[in-house]
Symmetry: C3
Subunit: 252 residues, 3 copies
């Protein structure tokens, strides 16, 4: 039971929050979930980290996250490696065997043409995975070549292809990528332009920095889908969504 | 028993150190206290985080902190919400029921006139709580409207009203607020002016960044009261206070 | 057993990685090692932190790290304090008693002439400790007075004196020190100049920031010796070394 029930505060927000696991130990996850397990529903094992530790720990962590109804997936980097090596079937088999129940389709570090991309989204859906796809390039130079209109088109194309959620790349740093400038400030025109031309319930913004979370919540809505949240900052984000921190108190 | 007893180093410092708990799990706190439980005496559950997890965990964490003689309180945000909703009695009852033994009186996100403020400090004292009050506005624009003389007056007024400790707002970021500029550097003139015109044992400076801790220790004294310390940095701060780190070694 | 075995990725890298322990609890270390214990081989208890907690915890942590073949040592600050107080024998006895099996010889905060320095390296070796020595001054002003040629000479002199590994100071911040400018960017000319004129297998670069790790790996080699790695970033660094993260994928 929660405390301070006499306060009229903003209730639970119906939204998607994706947390980044950079290689947490099992017991650390267990302890963290007792506090923040109800405040996120998507968990990404960052980039290729899940190759590097014992598969029994991965299986156990997946089960633990699922017990809180949190979907788990491994970062797009492994997917891209498998695709580049023509091992997509092996990839889907492996993540199934390890107990992941979601997939990220991305081309942040490699190139995948649009037909192939649609095919892969389809395949992932047919296999029963919750399917996320990501828009953006890890390389800032390449990423900056996208126009806002191109980003909008890519998002809508992915959704037509069957993607359950399209992620706007923000990286772990939140700097010099997508809607963020080199200081991590939000480019407001790009943000609102994308927001107004895509279905908001299917777009998730990576927003690792607190100032980004605040600005997205205040500019768009407190139920905006957010991702790449640090595992220590989950409850903090929830306080922002519910007006329980100075930055958003009285402004929602 | 501690190691390296043959070294002539600076002994324990008689001071106040306030740590920020952003929503730590019980077992994380337990493990952290075995190492750093002797190096702080005040614990703040950040802003509204303590609304968001099970009250049994809050009660257990409060007991655990108290077993190390650490006073606990919930961030001023909840107090401000309760005050705004005319539910101050409910608030004091609730924190008592949950096992907090200190209170923060603040108006960082709302407005409370000075009579009411004095009244609230009084009430908190009468109820037996260790009472902290905070000077500063969460909004940088509003905060910058205070002159240094106004800050000095507010501090002394709170102390006259019975406040056990007055906190100088530094936020979690330590930037663009109070005595810190937008890069987190200390505004030295403001700092020394406040220090010289207030009772140093009753003023606690929020100083989340290491450079701020170093500068406050070297400019004022190694027993300066410091707060908003990250729970991973408690021992690090103690090494600064005792000349056991390059930044202060030989300079105290 | 690791997962994703069907992928042709870069295998384990034969290198040295030094992690910074700023005062971790025993259970936190235990949990962290289940995930990342195979990806580092040197552990530094930062500066004077190990004075400040119970010696039984230090002994237990040393045993735990050693069970993963990780060598442990205490930051140079304690060594410098002992040397300044003419208590070097006591120092070596004490670290032996506490179960450290490596030593850092440094003069970052004090001055030690070159004969004495060589003597101390020698003594440490004779006593059977794995011996690291560090080049650089904690004070940015003093540190900037070294020319690159002087740094090269100091490194080679230490190696001739018997040092097993020479550390290039980067501090916890990675800013305004050694090969890093005040924003933490790598000074490439200084870096390559030092690299080309010293034995690469005996030089370890403190590189606390991710951009520094990426740049050192891409500029020098993926087996470059790196240190001051945050205990939460060990697996992340290993993904960089093995091309499992966007920053280095396809570039090694």
């Amino acid at each position: 039971m929660n405390a301070f029930k006499f306060l009229d505060e903003i209730g639970p927000v119906n939204t998607n929050t994706m947390v980044l696991d950079k290689a947490l130990g099992y017991k650390t996850v267990e302890d963290m979930l007792t506090i923040s397990g109800n405040y996120f529903n998507l968990l990404k094992y960052g980039w290729g980290t899940s190759i590097l530790y014992d598969e029994e720990i991965i299986k156990d962590k997946n089960e633990l996250y699922h017990s809180y109804n949190i979907r788990t997936y491994t970062g797009g980097t492994l997917f891209e490696l498998a695709n580049k090596q023509n091992k997509i079937d092996e990839y889907f088999n492996e993540i199934d065997r390890l107990g992941f129940n979601a997939v990220e389709i991305s081309d942040g570090s490699t190139t995948i043409d649009s037909d192939r991309r649609a095919q892969l989204i389809n395949k992932s859906k047919e296999l029963g995975f919750y399917t996320l796809s990501e828009i953006g390039k890890k390389n800032p130079q390449k990423d900056s070549e996208y126009t806002t209109q191109q980003r909008i088109d890519l998002i809508n194309t992915d959704i037509e292809a069957g993607s359950d959620m399209v992620i706007i790349e923000g990286r772990e740093s939140g700097k010099n990528i997508g809607i963020y400038d080199d200081k991590g400030n939000v480019k407001k025109d790009d943000l609102t332009s994308i927001y107004e031309n895509t279905p908001k319930e299917k777009v998730l913004w990576e927003a690792p920095q607190k100032n980004q979370q605040v600005e997205l919540i205040l500019t768009l809505s407190n139920d905006v889908n957010l991702g790449n949240i640090n595992s220590n900052e989950i409850v903090s984000l929830e306080t922002l969504r519910r007006g329980l921190r100075g930055d958003t108190l009285g402004k929602l």
